[in-house]
């Protein structure tokens, strides 16, 4: 393990890779700051660039973009109350009121410190948790993998919000269906190509990610007329002091530590991710706060800002655990990274730790660097970076569209891909308007191939019998957890409803 760590340290501290961390954090902060563009789009926009790099540098760049985007999202949340992504919605609860009270500088500095602490604590836990989990998962067989993939897919659906579970499952199935287009990997026969030459290789993952996230998000914001918003002018001279007093630090420190651990744990769960972590941390802090402080949450207090900021960064780090050790992405963003790794010919999962230790360890170690870079990059540069928010939307939007289109075109040099992107984007727009979530679809698409391979292997080994589903304890356990995560929340809600009804009856009786 020590040897691996040293290899990772060696790779991560190569000047080129440090440069990648810098570029990643900077680009991520910038893209994440643009309202509507979240980490998923930011990472998707980076894919074409990483194709030219070696795997370790590529993933380091993407990881930098990821936490940069999470941080950038909080900047726009604080300054203009327009969260760049869902995970920083909570940041605006207390961050924006602070900015309106003339404490924008303090709020941004707090966000930077909290993100740094959250990210660093997350990275330390990752350093110990990931290899341990990777070692355990080395004993997994294809049946267990199949169960794990099912778990990964159902978990994403389960965490997708109230009344959305079936929709998310439908989107997962839809992603799996899209994944079957093209040549079957084992038998070599064409499936669902309808005689089109351009479909023989299947739909490229990059194309799908760009069309459903980057393109659809931008067009969606145009449709909502967000580009006509004139409130985005930020006056950098009015940020106010960026210093925190000693009392404030003392007050916030326990919050940061608690929220970081909570955020990391939530991030590790497949599908939960940074948004849920931020909401949970905010809620927990409000419940833990002394009674007289509770009403202050939402009016602009530091604790209310520190909690979601440390939690969402710790969760972004945490979501690398399932990605690096099991090959199952915990969020839309890590799903895109999984796709990029597969494009490199690297199979994330337990073997990654053994086969490509330099990738495994350098990503973890680059996270420390990334957090430091974010801090030193952002604290002094915040006043300048926030001016980017003043770039007029009419200029910015066509450029983002262009980057998305050329990003795909420059990989395949096939204009068919551009047209396909537009078609997929239109479908994605309709699905968004119908409130169908996109991330499960992407996840289904990415995991589909592996799911099929593992199921095929498992069935062939077991002579076509499905008995492995319940005969192998590990497989059965994972599947049971999958069923529980899926069926648990609705059943709980039902029980709660029943209880509430009964209580209501009692109340009426008692009246």
């Amino acid at each position: 393990m020590l040897e691996g760590m040293l290899t990772g340290l060696n790779t991560a501290t190569e000047p080129f890779n440090i440069l990648m961390v810098f570029i990643g954090c900077f680009a991520g902060t910038f893209i994440g700051m643009l309202p509507g563009l979240g980490p998923v789009s930011a990472v998707a926009l980076m894919i074409p660039i990483t194709y030219g790099l070696d795997p370790a540098s590529g993933i380091i760049l993407m990881a930098g973009v990821y936490y940069g985007a999470v941080f950038g999202g909080s900047t726009s949340s604080i300054l203009i109350n327009a969260p760049g992504c869902s995970s920083t919605v909570v940041t605006a609860f207390d961050g924006y009121p602070m900015a309106r009270n003339g404490q924008a500088g303090k709020a941004l500095a707090m966000a930077a410190y909290a993100s740094f602490s959250g990210g660093t604590i997350g990275a330390i836990v990752l350093l110990f948790a990931a290899p341990f989990l990777a070692k355990v998962s080395l004993s997994f067989q294809s049946t267990d993998y199949f169960a794990l993939m099912v778990f990964g897919l159902t978990a994403v659906a389960a965490f997708s919000g109230k009344g959305q579970i079936i929709k998310a499952l439908m989107m997962t199935v839809c992603g799996l269906m899209v994944g079957t287009v093209g040549t079957d990997r084992t038998s070599g026969v064409e499936r669902f190509t309808f005689g089109w030459v351009d479909l023989i290789d299947g739909i490229s993952f990059l194309l799908l990610a760009m069309a459903t996230f980057a393109l659809a998000e931008v067009i969606m914001s145009v449709m909502r007329r967000e580009h006509q918003d004139t409130t985005t002018k930020v006056d950098a001279s009015q940020l106010g002091s960026m210093k925190l007093t000693r009392e404030e630090v003392k007050d916030v420190a326990p919050t940061v530590v608690r929220s970081s651990f909570l955020g990391f744990l939530v991030g590790v769960l497949p599908g939960a991710g940074a948004t849920i972590a931020a909401f949970l941390a905010y809620g927990t802090e409000r419940n833990l706060a002394p009674k007289e402080q509770r009403p202050l949450f939402g009016t602009g207090i530091l604790r209310g800002l520190a909690a979601p900021e440390s939690a969402n960064n710790a969760a972004s780090t945490g979501s690398f655990v399932p990605l690096l050790t099991l090959g199952i992405p915990g969020s839309g963003t890590t799903a895109i990274m999984l796709g990029a790794l597969i494009a490199y010919g690297i199979q994330p999962g337990p073997r990654l730790f053994v086969d490509n230790p330099e990738v495994f360890w350098s990503v973890i170690i680059s996270m420390y660097l990334g957090n430091i870079v974010l801090l030193i990059l952002n604290l002094p540069l915040i006043p300048y970076i926030s001016r980017l928010l003043a770039i007029p939307r009419p200029i910015l939007i066509p450029m983002i569209l262009l980057f998305s289109l050329t990003g795909v075109y420059l990989v395949s040099f096939n204009t068919f891909d551009i047209h396909m992107m537009v078609v997929i984007c239109i479908i994605a727009l309709f699905l968004r308007l119908l409130d169908f979530p996109m991330a499960p679809m992407l996840l289904g698409f990415i995991l589909g191939g592996m799911l099929e391979d593992n199921l095929r292997r498992a069935l062939v080994i077991n002579d076509g019998s499905l008995s492995f589903l319940w005969e192998r304890p590990l497989t059965a356990t994972i599947l049971a957890i999958a069923v529980l995560t899926l069926a648990g929340p609705p059943i709980l809600a039902l029980i709660r409803k029943k209880l509430a009804l009964r209580r209501g009856e009692f109340a009426i009786d008692g009246e």
């Binding site: 269906m177 079957d184 580009h227 569209l401 262009l402 204009t415 409130d435 069935l459």
Partner: protein, 157 residues
Amino acid sequence: MLVSKTRIGGLMFLLLSMAYGYSAMSIPLFPGEEAEPFSARTLPYFLAVLGSGLSLFLLLFGRDGDHVDNGVNADLDWRLAASLLLLMIAYGLALEWLGFLFATTLFLVIGFWMLGERRLKMLLVVSIPFTVGFWLLLTQALDIYLAPGQILNMFGG
């Protein structure tokens, strides 16, 4: 039965799943593969059944989630969105015919204009240097070959 967003989605997915299942039947199999436990058709069949089941559920029992506010969708700028999408399609065609430089400059100028930027100077000052810079970066720094447009080929031979 109430028409809700979820139900419309459910109906769409039901049709999709059925069409998917139907075309899965025409996936070619090798002789004797029908008896194998797993063939190229297995997963598609399973997905078609699962998808139909889920979409039927959505269609029959679907309610819109609690967080949905229908007011958001009422005032959407469909025209602008549609014209941007058309612009992207046109860009795909223009790349082939006009080449990267012309197509990209045109794409940016028209895009800026559609979104409300009307100052001619601004339109050109941003788009031309940006396109040329991007082109130089791609062709000179990254050594990527960008095919010139077919129209240029016709004239230039």
